[in-house]
Symmetry: C2
Subunit: 338 residues, 2 copies
DNA sequence: TTGTAAGCGTTATCAT
DNA sequence: ATGATAACGCTTACAA
């Protein structure tokens, strides 16, 4: 049952010492060409594969990075993971995946699980519940390489890779304004999340630029980010029950956007007759239809790639990184038939 | 920079031997309550975390499983991975992710990379290019636990978890027939894939049951499964150029379905005026619209869970598995406005 | 009850 | 050029 061959086996078979075999296997020069060929040939013949675990123990690195996201089954994250995986495998790293399902406790548990020596670094997008990040600062201070992407903390000095959420939100909101909509509601997720805050700022500045004043009831939070449909149904019902009903909604999240469409459908609120929608979304299926939904798309794949490149750079750096970088990539506004 | 504490550190600090510390840390009975408490308290104080790499080396297992799929950014696979992750983490296993991008060579490379002792078992959905599976049989014979899901090989005796593709395809095709469509084309991916074959059978038997005879040109292959838009555009153009144009298309894949919609849009072929579509798809966004697209949904999450449970069962089995199981889960037909 | 030593697979250091 | 030995962190016979 899966008895792998080791250096020791080769040594025994060839009447050599393990150190000689080891040297032959790598490209040391302190070895005779003859022995080297002998070992190499035999190794190939019996299909010798070095044991990465033994190497990890010796070299104190695992050649694996951990990825922590809220949900894999979300267009944004799956695209980001695609980018992460593409870079990681090119550089010989494994990608270990874990989901928080937006739970703070799960996030803490997963971070601990991954951090205790089974990964060389961490790529993290915070859960919606996370406001205290001491589980991360602790590891960061102990020197575990980490890069945040998408949902990043403020309180920690690290590398961060994000989209220009503020600008994306601004453009979507302004687009609605330019199309003549005035009472633009805002549907967002947890107030903890950096992306929510940034998108809220973009929304507010678009309104401000066009001198539109709206009551605070136009802003609705769905802390579970679309996971709990009732939450969003309540929010939307409340919006539609306002004395001055909104004529448009700007939705600040991927899952929130599709969730919103689903609730509107359920409540038989018609697009674009009753309301129009603009929202953040990375679903490519959305593009196939023309239901007056404008979407802001994040460069998820590129964000994943960039974050991974940065992380590997930190991991493999001989000297401590001098300064922390925050990369901001631009979003795209996909305009459909509004 | 990240100097982790080891059993040796504890031993030195407390004036004990490493074995005593090791015993105290686990629940051996051959230790005095006093020493045990001493060690446990100190370990907690300095936040001792056992090194999983050392454990892996000793116990010759990694507590990690490898997952090989073609694309993460695909509703079906991301949902399956969600199911996989949920079970794996419950049982204390890491999930190592890798993508083939439908390439046989990449599949071989990834399988090798993962198999050489960095995972305890493999969950695999074959790439569209894969017809020769000797890279897998070799490992299987050497005893590496593996479970196939979704796209499974015929030539190997292992556990397999799939959806009832034949029935799903049958139902979708029959639904079209019952709605009065007669010239139903079939758009599928690689002829190597089990799912393609199974769905083709379902399609054929629905036609047969209703005594519909169609020329073979009604069946189009897109070996790259939607990755190359031109391929699909050619296929659809050819279909629409037939002397007897099809009045419906049954599409046999997730990515193929959305790809088909996208091509139809580009070619300005209208649904449902010019043609109607039924296809396999796990996208939940599709549900939000009513463009006369009927979809067959696979229980992706459950397939992932089941495959993982089976794999862990094999991995942790004390005795060799007596018989191989093939689990078949039912699909759902989502009927929209055709 | 506790300590010593060997071993998991590999590489680096020091002899030879 | 090659071999013996120690070390990475941990567990487990075997001794004491």
């Amino acid at each position: 049952m899966f008895e792998p061959v080791t250096i020791k086996d080769i040594a025994k078979a060839l009447g050599l010492s393990t150190s000689t075999v080891s040297r032959a296997l790598r490209d040391t020069h302190e070895i005779s060409a003859a022995t080297k060929k002998l070992v190499l040939d035999y190794a190939k013949e019996i299909n010798y594969q070095p044991n990465p675990i033994a190497l990890s123990l010796k070299e104190r690195r695992t050649k694996a990075i951990g990825v922590i996201v809220s949900e894999v089954a979300n267009s944004y994250f799956s695209q980001a993971i695609n980018g992460i995986e593409s870079i990681a495998y090119d550089r010989g790293y494994h990608v270990i995946l874990s989901q928080t399902h937006e739970s703070y406790d799960t996030e803490v548990a997963n971070v601990q699980h991954l951090a205790s020596r089974s990964v060389d670094g961490l790529l993290i997008s915070l859960s919606a519940e996370t406001s205290d990040i001491s589980h991360l600062t602790a590891l960061h201070e102990r020197g575990l390489p980490m890069v945040f992407f998408d949902r990043v903390p403020e309180e920690i000095e690290t590398h961060k890779v994000i989209a220009n959420n503020e600008k994306g939100a601004f453009e979507a909101t302004e687009y609605l304004i330019q199309k003549g909509f005035k009472r633009i509601a805002h549907l967002t997720s947890s107030s903890y999340l950096s992306i929510s805050k940034e998108r809220l700022i973009g929304y507010r500045s678009a309104l401000a630029k066009h001198q539109i004043q709206l009551p605070e009831e136009y802003i609705k939070y769905c802390p579970h980010g679309g996971k709990i449909p009732e939450e969003m149904e309540t929010a939307i019902s409340e919006l539609m029950a306002l004395p001055e009903k909104p004529d448009a909604i700007f939705v600040a999240g991927d899952r929130l956007s599709t969730g919103c469409l689903s609730v509107l459908k359920k409540l038989k609120i018609k697009i674009p007759e009753d309301i129009v929608i603009a929202g953040f979304s990375n679903s490519d299926v959305l593009d196939l239809f023309n239901p007056s939904i404008t979407s802001v798309r994040q460069p998820a794949f590129e964000i994943g790639q960039l974050a991974t490149e940065k992380l590997l750079q930190i991991i493999e750096a001989k000297y401590p990184i001098e300064e922390f970088e925050k990369k901001v990539l631009e979003t795209d506004l996909f305009v459909r038939g509004i």
